[in-house]
Amino acid sequence: MIKVLLYGEARLIFNVKEIEEKGSTVKELLSNLALRYDKKYKDLKKFLIYVNDVNITALRMFRTKLNDGDVIMMLSPSSGG
């Protein structure tokens, strides 16, 4: 299982801090989340996504492979201060 930690807008959408979900890639994980929580996949794609502390833009984006025990962070796309 993959641990998904939710922040910002993602926490509002799912209304929880943390979810456990299956998925062999980021894309599959987001699809599973969309299906399970009745969300649109394209809405979940907009979040900043970190796999084990590394932004997926520095990995293989949505094709990034996931393994059991990986930790995903989903952050709001913007922040300000």
């Binding site: 922040y7 910002g8 807008e9 926490r11 509002l12 801090k17 794609k45 907009k46 900043l48 996504i49 970190y50 502390d53 932004n55 997926i56 833009t57 984006m61 949505f62 962070m73 952050l75 709001s76 796309p77 913007s78 922040s79 300000g80 201060g81």
Partner: protein, 632 residues
Amino acid sequence: MATKYKSYWGKVVKVNLTTKEVTDYEISDKDRLLYLGGKCIAAKIIYDNIKSKIDPLSEENMIVISTSPLNAVGAPCSSRFNTSTISPLTGYYTSSNCGGNFGLSLKRAGIDALIITGKAKDKTYLVITNNGIEFKDATPYWGMKTQEVQEAIPDKGAKFVIGPAGENLVRYACVISGERASGRGGVGAVFGSKNLKGLVAFGMKSPEVYNPKKFHKNNILWTKRLRTHPTTGKILPELGTASLVTPMHAKNLLATNNYRTGKFEHFDDVSGETLRDEYLVRNDGCTTCPIRCARVVTVDGKSVKGPEVETIGLFGPNIRNNNMQAILDWNYYMDDLGLDTISCGNTISWAMEANEKGFWKNGLEFGKIDNITQTLDDIAHRKGIGNELAEGSKRLSEKYGGKEFAMNVKGMELAAYEPRGAVGQGLGYAVANRGGCHLNGGYLVVLEGLGLSVNPYTPKGKAAFCVMFQDLMEACSAGGNCLFTTYAFFPSILIAKPNSWITRTVNKVFTSFGGIVTVLLKNPRIAAIHLPHMLPHTKALKYATGMYMDLGKFLQIGERGYNLERLIDVNLGVSKKDDELPLRLTTELQIATNKDSKVPLDVLRAKYYKVRGWDENGIPTDKLLKKLKIEK
């Protein structure tokens, strides 16, 4: 005094507290055109009057409280005013921006700027109305905290007051208007040194604008833009500036354990999300603000202003505290005492490390929070170790050792952004005119992870963008706007879709545009355009004042103001030797496996001086001053 430009009164008043004289001070229309208002016009006044080193807490120092053309005329996010002086913390120029109502009321009282000189014989406060300025006895109010005194002073109007910290000359004392602070640089101590408890302003007038119809139309567009931009329309109202805690942790930018790392394992306990879900009463905003980023929280059963991200960072991760309610309590208490939360938190974290390493045994420890409230009280009243902490981290580290981890520049303590995770931000801290300020330094962290995700470790292009952002924010502030209005400078699509190919491409190539930005900065006539969706400020200023204004002119006002501030500092002794970071940030890797995770300051600073048109020692050249029409 009169002015041909609209949205000014053409009235600057000088008050001599020693003699109780009130006189008009001449500002020409040429200066209005060159410096606009706010911090830039204040820099002009201080530059003309203070030419060499002074004791900031002596009678020789002056305070300039300046409004701007967009104040009190109905533009969005335009209640900001500046308090400028020579800082007792740094010995150099400081200008502190505040969103309280005092600036609006000062302008409505018919005054563009107020200059305060001398020293009152007795404890004094001033009442400013359309009928003039009255000197009143502040003896009954001396010793009161900032909220108490604002309620106790019977005069009608917006208040701007100091608390015990300012009275006791704490070098980072602030001045409070409502619940908003002129926080940085110790302006409160300068008030205290002049026996000045505060100011009250009341007025009912607003100046005319040049083209009301077009001005109003531009304001509607501007407000709409702010309400629909993902940062100002969504995340800031939703989570406030505390929204940054989580991404700062994710991107190694969250100063932790006195800037030893950029991550805090308990960050979510003090995040914007936790603040919203467990502590928020409602959000709030300055007058005229459609963003409403302020947090209202509960302290001792009262609804009060909550902390900004800098306070959360410095009283949370940086002292290894994950108790959010404690941060809310301390934040309110510091405002009430009249302490700058950034310098205060940073000085305490230095003291904790100094204690840990045996430089100075003081009882303060990382993660131990039961003695913090008492320490804050002791600082404001200069009791026990508080008397020493009131001097700030620079003076303490000179006395006890530990300069390499005293996180200040020019004596002003850094904000909560750990610059080894964003080296352009590190450059900004180093060269900022008022010292280690995240905003005066250009706030490049917004490019390097907290907006866009440009490579945070490369020095490439950073100097040019640092200059541009400094100038942009300087001009924005001179106009009277909140700096958050500049977020709209970033197209929504880049902010809202960080994983799109467009955003990723922009992030990759962004630093390559440093050369183009440099050309633009050196030739502002190229930018004789308006960008109404990205930067509505230029049209607003044009329609409000009747001045010719475009993007190039706007940026050049910022450039002129920034250079004039530098010249004030140069007159007071600033040079390259002062544009330095604490050694921890330039010599120690933040992440052992990342050889780029330290600030390459020598490279960045040399390039910055070149883009600025300063010589190798960081002094603006005569050629530059001539171009900017600054008389030496």
